[in-house]
């Protein structure tokens, strides 16, 4: 294969692999933000999820139990965030940072013994069976979690549009006054969306440690959980857009390693910055000062000025 197609295949592989954690965290964050709350603690849920998934998979031999444990860990962190933010005067952004630091700390604390051993990983679906080229085969070894993520995004979009539960979440997020007038229990709904959203972020972490890069160490997450929060803004709080946004960011994250496969390693470290720069540029392009964004929940304190 020539250089260009090698890079293209590597980018495709990267987009499919790197995007999955972005996808899960952004869907989860989308749900939480639709109910009018921000959870920056999803970064902590991601790291804790990665550790729990790896440890559980190693101890029990079942990677799927690991995914379940990751979801559980994420839900516990989401529960703390949801419960404390329900109190008066507690700032949800600051609380998110605390959950992020605390969750990361707990993950590092209990994860120490699991840095060395290798745990059973999640199986992949070999969609590249038709090709003889090794690169295409390995590029199309797609994790089932990727398809689970896409299915969840579609389901969530459908729920928001067509069900009573989706409408309830949207009302709570758009106008607390309207929700109160309708007799909705705002804090309980926000608590539940935070717990579910954080659980999804935990699954994103399980993907990191059990699929790609498929190991557990303290440098595993490099802010995917936070980039995903910005990604929701870019996706205009639409779960379907989260899919495209996640794929785009996956490709951006894979840019440096892909170019390295054809021997371009100049400025390798700069390519690490690509997803973050892309996020910033996207936010600058999508946000218009003084005007609220289409699709933005009215109760959200993120973009209010």
């Amino acid at each position: 294969m020539n250089g260009l197609s090698t890079v293209a295949v590597a980018l495709l592989a990267g987009a499919l692999r790197v995007s999955t954690p972005f996808l899960f965290v952004s869907i989860g964050e989308c749900l939480t933000e639709k109910a009018g709350r921000i959870n920056l603690g999803n970064e902590g849920a991601l790291v804790l999820g990665a550790m729990l998934a790896y440890a559980t998979s190693y101890e029990t031999g079942s990677p799927w139990l690991g995914v379940l444990a990751a979801m559980g860990g994420g839900m516990v962190l989401g529960g703390i965030h949801g419960a404390v933010c329900g109190l008066a005067k507690v700032n949800d952004i600051a609380m998110g940072i605390a959950i992020m630091l605390g969750g990361t700390g707990v993950a590092f604390f209990f994860g120490k013994p699991y840095v060395q051993p290798s745990a059973p990983l999640l199986p992949t679906i070999p969609l590249g069976f038709w090709s003889d080229a090794q690169q295409i085969r390995s590029a199309l070894d797609v994790s089932p979690l990727f398809f689970v993520g896409i299915a969840l995004a579609v389901a969530l979009a459908w729920i928001f549009r067509n069900t009573r539960a989706g409408l309830t979440v949207r009302i709570v997020g758009d106008s607390a006054d309207a929700a109160k007038a309708m007799g909705l229990r705002i804090e309980r709904i926000r608590f539940l969306t935070t717990v579910i959203g954080s659980g999804l972020a935990g699954i994103g972490g399980a993907f990191l440690s059990l699929c790609y890069p498929a190991s557990w160490n303290e440098g595993l997450s490099s802010g995917q959980g936070l980039v995903a929060v910005a990604l929701v803004v870019f996706a205009r709080w639409n779960p379907l857009n989260c899919i495209y946004a996640a794929l785009l960011f996956g490709a951006a994250g894979a840019l440096g390693p892909s170019l390295q496969t054809v021997g371009i390693s100049k400025g390798y470290y700069l390519f690490y910055a690509a997803p973050y720069v892309l996020t910033l540029v996207m936010m600058i392009l999508t946000v218009t000062p003084g005007r609220s964004l289409r699709g933005m929940p009215g109760e959200l304190s993120l973009m209010r000025s």
């Binding site: 920056l40 703390i80 404390v84 109190l87 008066a88 005067k89 507690v90 700032n91 952004i93 600051a94 609380m95 940072i97 605390a98 959950i99 630091l101 605390g102 969750g103 990361t104 700390g105 707990v106 590092f108 604390f109 120490k112 490099s222 802010g223 936070l226 980039v227 929060v229 910005a230 803004v233 400025g267 390798y268 470290y269 700069l270 690490y272 910055a273 973050y276 720069v277 996020t279 910033l280 936010m283 600058i284 946000v287 218009t288 000062p289 003084g290 304190s301 993120l302 973009m303 209010r304 000025s305």
Partner: protein, 376 residues
């Protein structure tokens, strides 16, 4: 606008203290100070309790842990020295969070300003080698301050002019800063002699300022304390600070009053970022002697915790820095004696952070601390 209760309170303070001045409730200022002291203390006690439970659950002795923390942090002259050493950069990085917070901003990307400030300091010193050391120090401090200020100032500018959330942008910028730092340290400015640990060329032992002349104190310590005092004056005793606190209390009111809100945001972010950049430059001159990956040691993140502990009051930053610096300094001792991972400190810090933020909900809830006799 993100509502920060400290800023809310600043806006509320004005009518209340006038009440107090008329003599109707003369002990109110005292009770309010007591509330501001007792609530965080309660939160700290709660965090200590929760962490004790955590230790008991793991089969470790909480008493042993806290004794070790005390000994490792403040128990001897040597350990206190160690604590001060750790505390010095944190004074400045805490200001990076605390100063913009008075405008209601949550800037959490101080880490990026630290590494770029340190890099700028190391880079500017190299062509000046041979000049009087005093000149080199001033140039390094200025370079660190300017670069750090520009970096966080960019987040402030994006917030003021483009309406982009400063929490996310400052954090994204921190990741960009670390990538940029690695690129420069591994590439254009790499000292060919640094094999295992890529770093810039050393500024030379003669140009280092490892301790204050005549003492063993870290040079960042007096700089940090002076900066805290200066920012206290700026925030509570100048018209700039008043405008900032009004903006933090109610941005609409500030705009209607004709306050230059965008400029206030920009200046506050740039000053805060400058402090973090200065911390990086001082770390280079006092500890490393060049810019290498050790600069990204999490000073920026610890600073966030300290700023919240101090409720953004620059004068409260110093004692809170001692607390956090002490816990960090004792980490090694706890690790060795109790056979616990180094992340123990992170867990404790996380619990303190959670409990401090939760305690925000108690301000104004307890009746005894509230103004009396006035029409509510």
């Amino acid at each position: 606008m993100v509502a920060i209760s400290a800023a809310d309170r600043a806006a509320e303070e004005i009518p209340r203290s006038r009440e107090a001045a008329t003599g109707r409730d003369s002990t109110y200022p005292l009770r309010r100070a007591l509330e501001a002291l007792l609530v965080p203390l309660m939160a700290l006690a709660l965090a200590a309790g929760a962490f004790s439970l955590f230790l008991v659950f793991l089969g470790k002795s909480p008493a042993e842990f806290f004794v070790l923390v005390w000994r490792g942090a403040f128990g001897s002259a040597f350990s206190f020295q160690n604590t001060l050493q750790r505390a010095a950069p944190l004074l400045l990085t805490a200001l990076c969070m605390a100063v913009p917070a008075h405008l209601g901003l949550v800037v959490i990307g101080g880490e990026g300003a630290v590494v770029l400030g340190g890099l700028a300091g190391a880079a500017v010193a190299l062509p000046l080698l041979g000049a009087p050391t005093f000149v080199i120090w001033i140039a390094m401090a200025l370079a660190g301050f300017v670069v750090g200020g520009a970096w966080i100032g960019l987040a402030g500018w994006l917030r003021a002019k483009r309406g982009i959330n400063e929490t996310i942008s400052s954090l994204l910028l921190a990741y960009v800063a670390i990538a940029l730092f690695n690129h420069i340290v591994e590439g254009p400015l790499r000292d060919p002699l640094s094999l295992n640990k890529p770093s810039t060329a050393p500024i030379g032992d003669v140009n280092m300022l490892t301790s204050l002349p005549g003492t063993d104190l870290h040079p960042g310590l007096p700089v940090g304390i002076l900066a805290c005092i200066a920012f206290w004056v700026l925030i509570y005793r100048t018209s700039f600070g008043f405008g900032a606190r009004v903006t933090g209390g109610n941005i609409r009111a500030a705009q209607l009053q004709g306050l230059p809100v965008a400029r206030l945001i920009l200046i506050a972010c740039a000053l805060g970022g400058g402090c973090a950049g200065l911390a990086g430059a001082i770390d280079v001159v006092a500890v490393h002697g060049n810019a290498n990956a050790s600069l990204a040691a999490g000073y920026g993140y610890a600073g966030i915790l300290i700023a919240f502990l101090a409720r953004f009051n620059p004068l409260a930053i110093a004692p809170m820095t001692l607390l956090v610096g002490g816990i960090t300094a004792s980490g090694g001792l706890v690790q060795r004696r109790m056979n616990m991972p180094d992340a123990t400190v992170l867990v404790l810090q996380g619990m303190i952070f959670l409990s401090i933020l939760t305690s925000e909900t108690f301000y104004g809830r307890m009746k005894w601390f509230q103004p009396r006799g006035a029409v509510q």
